[in-house]
């Protein structure tokens, strides 16, 4: 027993010594690595990190994103039919991996929770050596992971995220978004609403009470009020309310003739289904047919709403029914691989992977500052959304936006959305300074 006895002084000495011993090699390693950027590939392969919701409410969307990523990796490595590599305006990609290195990937589960998404991205960066992180199916996750990537100096190619904040007040030098945003939904939808529903309308908003809902409500309100519409009321509903009846019945007596549902996913399915049950599609108010508008549509979610989406207007980033070469090529190669057409989430994820790989090829290096420079201000075509610009000021893609309507006569179980108009890029381009925010530095080496 007495052999184990230790004096206070002895303990302090031992502690200090072991502290020095532990710290010394680390500081050397740190010094050595500080010359280099994070996770630069040294062997014959390069690792990408696909961070998608594999559990939780958006798991189906996440599964489709993952399918798209796996297809992109195949095409980058020269397997399969090459997909949109053949239609992409930049010809830097040769189907021999990225800079000759074979593309490999690791996956993580965001669970549609910011903290889980950050933790899984962190694991992929620190443990698996991912050079780039991509994915996600919600804006909360995108903003959180983007922040982490900025801190560590890893490029983040956002998946499905529609909030203005992702490339607005929370924009980051290392974060890039191909998907459109709520502000652009408003810009695209406005003229169509005026054309189809008239300029004298009274709108009632139900809004999911979180970041994305607020920005969409604001964007749509600004647009419709600009058209001359009145906003009768804008009510915030708790996320995942389930039963929306107590929020829907006040609409009936409010004198409103348009209901705008700023809901996504399950909330959208529930509120829309219930609004239809309350007879809102069959109603006349102020001598006009009552209308429901869902500003952000997703085909995967539309399946959940069944019959109820027929005839309802909204916007979407991309739809598989587009007839341009690039879209048709992508649908063909995705459909042959998986037996179903890709969702908009799958398309944006596939495109983001190609864009990153292409930027590295053009930069000739994996070093983030050069890759960022290659992406900033990059003009391209042939990826399914027409001529597109990766805007340097906020890392938001400027491209066409689709205004769609729930298909009244679907020809198949996938044929749920009908494209009403392809709103040209010029009409959805806006001044990047309106949302504030700061991109931050490009030479972060924080491994």
């Amino acid at each position: 027993m007495s052999k184990l006895f230790m004096t206070r002084r002895g303990l302090l000495k031992a502690g200090a010594a072991s502290g020095v011993a532990l710290a010394a090699p680390m500081s050397f390693v740190r010094g050595a690595y500080a010359e280099e950027f994070c996770n630069l590939p040294t062997g014959s392969s390069v690792t990408l990190g696909f961070n998608v919701p594999q559990s939780g409410p958006y798991a189906d969307e996440g599964a489709d994103e993952l399918r798209a990523y796996q297809l992109a990796v195949k095409h980058l490595n020269g397997e399969g039919d090459g997909g949109m590599l053949s239609t992409f305006s930049s010809k830097a990609l040769k189907g021999n991996g990225i800079l000759g290195k074979k593309v490999e990937y690791v996956t993580g589960d965001t669970q549609t929770k910011s903290d889980a998404a950050r933790a899984s991205a962190k694991r992929m960066i620190e443990k698996d050596g991912a050079i780039m992180i991509t994915g996600g199916s919600s804006s909360g996750v995108a903003v959180a992971v983007q922040g982490l990537c900025q801190e560590t100096g890893i490029i983040f190619m956002a998946g499905l995220t529609h909030s203005n904040d992702t490339t607005g007040k929370d924009k980051k030098r290392f974060g890039f978004r191909h998907f459109f945003n709520a502000y652009q939904s408003g810009l695209a939808l406005g003229p169509i609403l005026a054309e189809q529903l008239g300029k004298e309308r009274r709108a009632y908003h139900l809004t999911a009470d979180y970041n994305w809902g607020w920005t969409q409500e604001e964007s749509i309100k600004n647009t419709t009020e600009g058209l001359g519409w009145q906003t009768v009321n804008a009510v915030r509903t708790p996320l995942g309310a389930g039963d929306f009846s107590q929020y829907l019945t006040p609409v009936l007596n409010s004198g409103a003739d348009v209901l705008v549902l700023n809901h996504y996913g399950k909330d959208m399915v529930n509120s829309l289904t219930q609004a239809v049950q309350f007879g809102m599609r069959a109603k006349q108010v102020n001598g006009k047919d009552f209308e429901v508008v869902v500003p952000l549509f997703s085909r995967l979610m539309a399946q959940g709403a069944g019959e109820n989406i027929k005839g309802i207007l909204g916007t979407t980033n991309w739809n598989w029914s587009l007839k341009d070469d690039a879209s048709a090529t992508f649908v063909k190669s995705f459909g042959q691989e998986y037996g179903a057409p890709p969702s908009q989430a799958a398309q944006t994820c596939y495109v983001q992977t190609l864009l990153y790989a292409d930027a590295v090829e053009r930069a000739g290096t994996f070093a983030p500052p050069e890759v960022i420079a290659a992406l900033e201000g990059f003009e391209f075509d042939g990826l399914g959304n027409g001529k597109t610009l990766y805007r340097a000021a906020d890392h938001q893609c400027m491209k066409d936006v689709l205004v769609v309507r729930g298909n009244a006569n679907p020809t198949s179980q996938f044929d749920l959305l009908e494209v009403v108009k392809i709103v040209p890029r010029e009409e959805v381009t806006y001044d990047p300074s309106i949302f504030g925010g700061d991109l931050g530095p490009a030479d972060v080496k924080a491994c």
Binding site: S245, Q246, T249, L252, N253, T273, M301, S321, S412
Partner: protein, 341 residues
Amino acid sequence: MDAILLQFLNGLDKGGAYALIALGLTLVFGTLGVVNFAHGALFMLGAFCAVTFNKLLNLEQVVLDETQKTAWGSALEIRTPYVETLFGDFGHFLIDYSVPISILITIPVMLLIGIAMERGLIKYFYKRPHADQILVTFGLAIVIQEIVKHYFGANPIPQSAPEIVAGSANIGAWFGLSDNIVYPWWRLVYFGFSAFIIAAVFSFLQFTTYGMVVRAGMRDSETVGLLGINIQRRFTVVFGLAAVVAGLAGVMYTPILPPDYHMGMDFLVLSFVVVVVGGMGSLPGAVLAGFLLGILQSFASMNEITSIFPGIDQIIIYLVAVVILLTMPRGLLGREGVMEE
């Protein structure tokens, strides 16, 4: 006035669902003394009985039409449900009425699930502390959820009400009030259905010998046991009955809320508040509190009220629960001696 009437109806409807789930919870707690956190999962399983039945009815004959191609080059699939090809109009009727008809399947299925759950897992936890019971049933709920998600996916699966009750009723016109008072037929059906089930459960307990024995057992199971009655077996049946009630509530709720694997959890927490407010172990208390809280929640989300107290709609239930527990620690109709030993 219109708004108040509509919110009252909403409250009855919501209250019906809360009351049905809380009733089952209380039955289990009152008889077996088990706090069953897997009860929400039973509600969800009931809803998925309807989904499964509907899926079976909609099993499709797939014919490949080589003359038409999909966008990715394979032959177009023409799908027709087998029941429609086999039975024609009757098949169509079956699909249209799949939700109410699935009740017939749900009852035996839920009874079996309930009994299996009690015999297979819960019975080993009678003598354990409530914390253990909560942990094991909560774990069970997660397991059930994940199994359902594995087979049915994470997205909600819409179920439609029969066409005849798909629209909304012009209630205002019935009472000579404004035309703006419309209410979905199916929600009215749901309220009627929940009232019927509640009445049936109470009659069973009140007017049958079996129910009398169960009630006696709830009071003092030891004495009932001494009289030579196998009270445990009856309690097992009561657990099955509670599962059936939860399952039926779930089945009929599917046209209102497209079911997904998580719907049980969403209801569970609220139902527990309902049970506590009603008084642990009190069946009339559970029903009363279910309707009371449903109606309060609806009123609290009226625009006139949220403009004064923003966000009150999301906390009202818990606020009321706090006030009631402070003034009436045993809940509305709770009796002495429950959970107090």
